[in-house]
Amino acid sequence: MDTHPTLPEFDYLRPRTPAEASEFLSGHPGEARPFMGGTDVLVRMRDGVLTPRFLVDVKGLDGANDLRFDPKAGLTLGAAVSMNRVIASADVRTHYPLLAEACRSVASYPLRTRATVVGNICNASPAGDTIGACLVFHAVLHVHGVHGPRPEPLSSFFLGPGKTTLEPGDVVMAIHLPLPPDRSAGVYLKLGRNRLSDLSIVGVTALGHPDSSCSSGYRFRLALASVAPVPLVPLEAERYLANHAITPESLGSAAQLAADACSPIDDVRGSARYRRLMVRNLTATALAQVWNRLTV
């Protein structure tokens, strides 16, 4: 076993425009990959799992480094915006504290200097820590493809582990988070094998807010990590809370519905049975914490 493997050979390109990037990527399907922070792709290349002929660095494209908050429209993060920049942003901490909390749970400070939210999403791991926050904020991706730019809602983006709706030639230029609902509160509860830095065995994102269109008067949004082939939104649990008065019992029933929606696997981090039980317990805790913050 080579304990100090080098990266396989490849060519490195820095396109000047999104059109140039899309054209090159679509001309080399299966051989060329967009390259952002590299914290996932370089590890998999080192391990020989990925052997792209070309890495297409998109961090120099216009807008890739922009972190913009518009009080009327929401937050836009360019593809090259690092998680540490997201955490340090006063606008994010004020309006999307849940996103900052999710970023902080990822690996270590030096890794987050490089790791990006857009990269975390494109990597499409069911365990991706920042995906849940983006899902509950109803994020939309700005994708540039061979036919030009298009929006792509995050809710229908994930197809399987590492699989998304992206086609050859597509580059995710940015992610946009609409304004958070009024008076919302959110939490991300992450269960790892240690308290900091590990991948999640289970991750539960919960966001709640008053909503007069629900018979309960409140709407809750949930997203579950590491318990299905894709980041999972347990719609039955969300619907239950929209339609039943919020009590400790109804929160518990919703947590059970969330656990029922999962299809976890056994792996080195935990068994399927353990994951399902932890989804129930952590969802109950997350909902109780959100409810507590909504009603103080």
Binding site: T6, P8, E9, Y12, G38, L42, V43, Y109, P110, R114
Partner: protein
């Protein structure tokens, strides 16, 4: 494979280096520039032994391509000390006995130096969080943390 000519500032020295696309910043430092203070532990962004400052922020240099560093400023452990004296974290971690085998030490020094630059008075939890990506299998961390705490006190007394 493409070969790239890059210009970088390393420990305040200008360098011009020809790097293949698949060379990481860590390998460039060690193999092209003989800056072997930066250690190769895991090559996977897990252990932190290769931590350096890239434009002032700590990164795992095994997770950065050298070609991406064209025009960048890099500080390695060799660049932390001044002409006459060690950087505060170097002095205090040494004094507290926060070094045993020494393999993790360059990364620990860079990460804790960067922590004190962005947060001059970290509490113990903040120090532990900042060093979560720097694995040490010898010390048990206690003396390292005491070293960082002492460096913080030293710096605030000097200000």
């Amino acid at each position: 494979m493409s070969l790239h000519e890059i210009h970088v500032t390393i420990n305040e020295e200008q360098e011009q280096v020809a790097v293949p696309a698949n060379m990481t910043l860590m390998r460039m430092l060690r193999e092209k520039l003989a800056l072997t203070g930066t250690k190769n532990g895991c090559s996977a962004g897990e252990c932190g032994a290769c931590t350096v400052l890239l434009n002032g922020e700590p990164v795992n240099s095994c997770m950065v391509l050298a070609v991406e560093c064209d025009g960048a400023r890099i500080v390695t452990v060799e660049g932390l000390a001044g002409e006459e004296r060690l950087a505060p974290v170097q002095e205090t971690i040494l004094r507290q006995g926060g070094v045993q085998c020494g393999f993790c030490t360059p990364g620990i020094l860079i990460s804790s130096h960067a922590l004190l630059q962005r947060n001059p008075n970290p509490d113990e939890e903040e120090i532990r969080e900042a060093l979560v990506g720097n694995l040490c299998r010898c010390t048990g961390y206690v003396r390292i943390i005491e070293g960082v705490q002492e460096a913080a006190r030293m710096q605030s007394a000097a200000d």
